[in-house]
């Protein structure tokens, strides 16, 4: 059986003793949708976090803006939190859906997203 699907889509975490900022950053790095990086000065930066380096002298993330501009690097020290605001393209049971459609005779052209922008 397929595990129940879990996604962080829509999550708005607040860092605290049980949820350190570093953990939120790791989850944002692993997330395949857009997020909104909230800076300590209140600025909000929507976009895709594609890298994080916690081993660097000054740990940082790298992201592309929501319009694809970038990349820009942001030190951990400037980040207050990250919200999981964009759709998670890795979530979903598209394979199961495809199988179900096929089994019920509805197979044919696959109408799922094909990774094209």
């Amino acid at each position: 059986m397929t595990e129940p699907e879990t996604t962080l889509e829509g999550w708005t975490p607040e860092p605290g003793p049980d949820l350190p900022l570093e953990r939120i950053i790791d989850l944002a790095f692993d997330y395949r949708g857009d997020t909104t990086v909230v800076l300590t000065d209140g600025t909000e930066l929507p976009g895709y976090v594609f890298n994080r380096n916690a081993d660097a002298g000054e740990p940082f993330i790298q992201m592309f803006d929501a319009d694809g501009a970038g990349p820009r690097a942001i030190p951990y020290s400037r980040i207050r939190t990250i919200r999981f605001t964009g759709r998670d393209p890795a979530a979903g049971n598209s394979y199961a859906l495809w199988r179900r459609r096929k089994e019920t005779g509805g197979a044919g052209r696959d109408e799922r997203g094909r990774g094209q922008g």
């Binding site: 397929t2 595990e3 790095f29 395949r32 949708g33 857009d34 976009g47 895709y48 594609f50 890298n51 994080r52 380096n53 081993d55 790298q62 592309f64 803006d65 929501a66 319009d67 694809g68 990349p71 964009g86 759709r87 393209p89 890795a90 979903g92 049971n93 598209s94 394979y95 199961a96 495809w98 197979a107 044919g108 052209r109 696959d110 799922r112 997203g113 094909r114 990774g115 094209q116 922008g117």
Partner: protein, 340 residues
């Protein structure tokens, strides 16, 4: 074995040069991903799930060539995404061939015929279309979640062969694959006239939609042992025979994650083609600052435990061939007898 002698010699000379220089870690195949866009959405693929603005982006040819120079590997594999959707694929391939690289253009071949008819490519011993086919018609269409793709790929293969191109196939095997059907598939590909076939078990990408059908180690050994026992003389494989023996359970290799370094829109991917644990800005940075001891079976890393994928272990097998008399003799033996 079906790797052309000139290509084999280039790889052998390169490996021996690295050994003479005392380089402990060196790349063998650069995995160059100029884009993530694809015209398929296969169940076992974890490469294309990105927001639209990322899928619209692509590397420039100049960025690609800089990465090729930085890396220095003799072979460049161009996966993706679907590389035939890269608008500058013709120029990129031309530049790589001009630099003497052996190029494997990994494609689902849906657009292959169209691109060939448009005159985008010129036949060269340095260029091979590596067409993704996961088995016979039913298995492949199931694997790519769309019917009719097998027929399109075969049509593309025929056209490429007719025009004098090198064509190989690359096949990823998942749980439930039938050894008998795969043997029929090998016959089918040989009948088509492809130069050779490449096989690999799938990797359990955490982002892939289908998580149920990835092979575990013992199942992989069992499947490959049954599939490749008593191989027909006419079957040709475009990969290291020692790697195939490893898949059959006859060797217990450790992963060489730096063997197939990956460059894409985000930079140099740590630590390998399959795992995404961060990106380095330069190839040197990748090689020098990646904590390699965290990866591979011996590391105890759960993500590496069941992995037997070509991008980690084929480099190990090639190193075994050129790094020890035993490996060399074994490789020659398999090549001459055709027995795995």
């Amino acid at each position: 074995m079906s790797v052309p002698a000139a290509q084999m010699w280039t790889v052998a000379a390169y490996v021996l040069r690295q050994k003479l220089r005392g380089r402990r870690r060196y790349p063998l195949v650069l995995m160059l991903e100029p884009l993530f866009r694809c015209n398929l959405a296969c169940a076992g693929c974890g490469k294309i799930q990105y927001p639209a603005q990322i899928l619209r982006k692509q590397l420039s040819v100049e960025q690609c060539l800089r990465a090729v120079e930085e890396c220095g590997a003799p072979i460049v594999s161009i996966p993706g995404g679907e590389p035939l959707m890269y608008p500058e694929i013709g120029r990129l391939v031309e530049e790589l061939v001009r630099r003497g690289k052996y190029v494997y253009l990994c494609t689902n071949a849906i657009q292959l015929r169209e691109k060939l008819e448009a005159g985008l490519f010129t036949p060269s011993r340095h260029l091979s279309f590596s067409v993704h086919l996961d088995g016979r018609r039913a298995e492949h269409d199931e694997s790519v979640c769309r019917e009719g793709v097998y027929d399109q790929a075969v049509e593309g293969i025929r056209e490429a062969l007719r025009r004098g191109f090198r064509v190989t196939t690359n096949t990823t095997l998942f749980e439930g694959a039938s050894p008998l059907r795969m043997r029929e598939f090998f016959d089918e590909m040989m009948d088509l006239g492809v130069e050779g076939m490449m096989l690999s078990p799938g990797y359990s990408y955490s982002k892939a939609p289908d998580q149920e059908h990835f092979l575990r180690k013992t199942r992989t050994n069992d499947l490959f042992a049954r599939m490749l026992s008593k191989p027909k003389r006419r079957w040709r494989f475009n990969q290291s025979p020692l790697f195939l023996r490893f898949l059959m359970g006859k060797h217990d290799y450790e992963c060489t994650p730096w063997g197939n370094p990956t460059f894409n829109l985000f930079g140099w991917q740590r630590p390998c083609y399959l795992l995404q644990e961060g990106y380095a800005e330069s190839f040197q940075d990748l090689m020098e600052t990646t904590r390699w001891e965290r990866y591979g079976r011996k590391s105890g890393n759960a993500k590496c435990r069941d992995c037997m994928v070509h991008c980690g272990f084929e480099a190990t097998a090639v190193n075994e061939t050129f790094g020890s008399w035993r490996g060399f003799v074994e490789t020659v033996g398999v090549t001459l007898t055709g027995r795995f």
